[in-house]
């Protein structure tokens, strides 16, 4: 009986015949925030994709105690996993509101949808001003907000965030992380956070794993990794 929402053992992943993850072990606790850090090409994005059934995997992935490796993406999503992919994954041809409503597609009980929509607009006022606007015309920061909002509309138990700070101005990133932290605290949504910006991630997370070419080379409480200057310099470059 573990406290883990996500429990990953011996995860191997490959694109075609090229193996990119070599036996990862990590966990995400209920209500916790886990950071997955590392340089470009370390396998961070592949890790998130593996959890969603988007790549070929070997090994064991458990969500809330139940094996989900081999399940189709659509079914994993219905268990309460919201993935905000790198590149945002917004439906650029649809309006802001349509994007958000799509986040609620799998929900059985429709009554809460309108209320949750209002809540998302509350968190992200720029979206409220652009409800009918085509999503592809939003700025980078607004699209990231939209992607986050869409994930929230799912009422997820876990959110997988792939480089949410990418290409965004520092002020916007700060605000976004503040909101994400709030959601974790108030709604108990567990977060798995992939970031190249290690300092930001370590501030938010409670534990972290550092990947290097498809392997975990370092793991532990986020504060501990943040406080170890030697480790930071060799693995995280600062």
């Amino acid at each position: 009986m573990t406290d883990a929402l996500f429990e990953v053992r011996s995860l191997h992943a490959s694109y075609g015949s090229t193996e990119v993850l070599f036996g990862l072990d990590f966990t995400l606790d209920h209500g916790g925030i886990t950071g997955i850090l590392g340089a470009n090409g370390a396998g961070k994005t592949t890790t998130l994709r593996s959890l969603c059934g988007m790549v070929k995997t070997r090994g064991q992935i458990r969500f809330d105690g139940r094996r989900i490796d081999g399940m189709a993406t659509e079914d994993i999503v219905r268990l309460g996993v919201a993935h905000v992919p790198d590149g945002r994954g917004t439906f650029t041809g649809l309006s802001v509101e349509e994007n958000l409503r799509l986040g609620a597609y799998t929900r059985k009980y429709r009554q809460g949808v309108a209320r949750d929509l209002a809540e998302v607009y509350d968190h992200f006022p720029p979206l409220a001003n652009r409800r009918k606007q085509q999503a592809g015309t939003l700025s980078g920061g607004e699209q990231q907000m939209l992607a986050l909002g869409r994930a929230l509309m799912l009422k997820p138990r876990a959110m997988l965030l792939d480089e949410p700070s990418f290409g965004l101005a520092p002020l916007i990133v700060e605000e976004m992380f503040r909101i994400v932290g709030l959601i974790n605290k108030e709604q108990g949504v567990s977060l798995l956070l992939v970031e190249q910006n290690a300092s930001l991630a370590l501030d938010l997370a409670d534990r972290a794993y550092v990947l290097e070419t498809g392997r975990v080379v370092l793991s532990g409480p986020a504060q501990q990794i943040k406080g170890d200057a030697k480790v930071r310099r060799s693995y995280l470059g600062y």
Binding site: M54, E74, H83, P85, F91, T92, G93, L102
Partner: protein, 294 residues
């Protein structure tokens, strides 16, 4: 003036048929990036099913709706059994599959029902409708326009305002992100084919009273539908519908008023439209030019 109004209404009627086919083509194009060359033959086959039902004694409208239902199921089956297996094949292979479907439907129809031309009933009364200025137009032409607009309105409402319609649009635009919100993309594709087949069936049943039913009925009409879809913008359903109506009206007006075209070269008008659109404005009148970063 009389002649103009008559030709306009007739043009709108045939335009409605072209618009329906254009819409079916665009729906499948948006979902799959492919042109369904067999769309016309599928519509023709559906019309033969309706003919069989009516001949067996079924009243028109029950036969109509039963045919639409069968076509819906048929479209889903075709997507599952014929198209799904070649999903990831090279483009040329998929085109050949479509052409194969075209040939199969055409031949099987001729085999089951022979190539003898058959009359097809119209649900609209026979007497002409008196319009303004004392001109009379056939009721059937008006009926076709009304039915076409009703179908378009239903589809528009479905795609714009229902969650399922939204999911289908999402699945067509971005399958990967659609999976991430839990949409079963395969099912959406099958549904799209079912809808396209249903719309085609309606088009077939509307045009058959005018041109009479035989296996070759839809081949020319598909070309007009294609011209309409291109003219309006192959990526734009509303544009395609408008394009279909425009082609219908143009075909009739050019055939009537341009001396050397007449009836024989009407089809050529469609082909000329296609060539001009592709040369001058490939995105069509209402389509968006898509820009790709290289």
């Amino acid at each position: 003036m009389d002649l103009l109004i008559q030709q306009l209404v007739a043009g709108l009627a045939t335009g409605g048929i072209y618009a329906s086919l254009a819409l079916s083509l665009v729906m499948i194009y948006q979902a799959t990036g492919l042109i369904n060359f067999a769309q016309g033959e599928m519509a023709m086959f559906s019309t033969y099913i309706a003919w069989t039902l009516v001949n067996a004694g079924m009243p028109y409208w029950p036969a109509f709706f039963l045919t639409v239902g069968c076509s819906f199921v048929g479209g889903i089956l075709i997507e599952r059994l014929v198209i799904r297996p070649v999903e990831n094949a090279p483009m040329l292979s998929i085109v050949i599959v479509f052409i194969g479907l075209l040939v199969v439907f055409n031949s099987v129809a001729g085999w089951i029902w022979t190539h003898t031309i058959k009359p097809f009933p119209s649900p609209f009364p026979d007497q002409p409708l008196e319009l303004i200025a004392g001109t009379a137009v056939p009721m059937h032409a008006v009926g076709v326009v009304v039915v076409t607009l009703a179908v378009m309105a239903l589809l528009y409402f479905f795609f714009r305002f229902t969650p399922l319609g939204l999911a289908m649009r999402a699945a067509a635009q971005n399958p990967v992100s659609s999976r991430l919100v839990g949409i079963r993309v395969g099912r959406m594709l099958a549904l799209g084919w079912g809808l396209a087949a249903s719309v085609g069936a309606v088009a077939g049943m509307m045009v058959a009273p005018i041109v009479f039913l035989d296996p070759g009925m839809m081949s020319g009409i598909l070309l007009y539908g294609f011209a309409g879809a291109l003219l309006g913008g192959i990526g734009n359903p509303g544009g395609a519908v408008l394009g279909g109506f425009m082609v219908g009206v143009m075909e009739n007006l050019v055939g009537t008023y341009v001396p050397f075209v007449g009836n024989e070269l009407k089809l050529t008008v469609a082909l000329v439209i296609i060539v001009l659109v592709v040369l001058v404005r490939p995105a069509g009148l209402f389509g968006k030019v898509s820009v790709t970063r290289v």
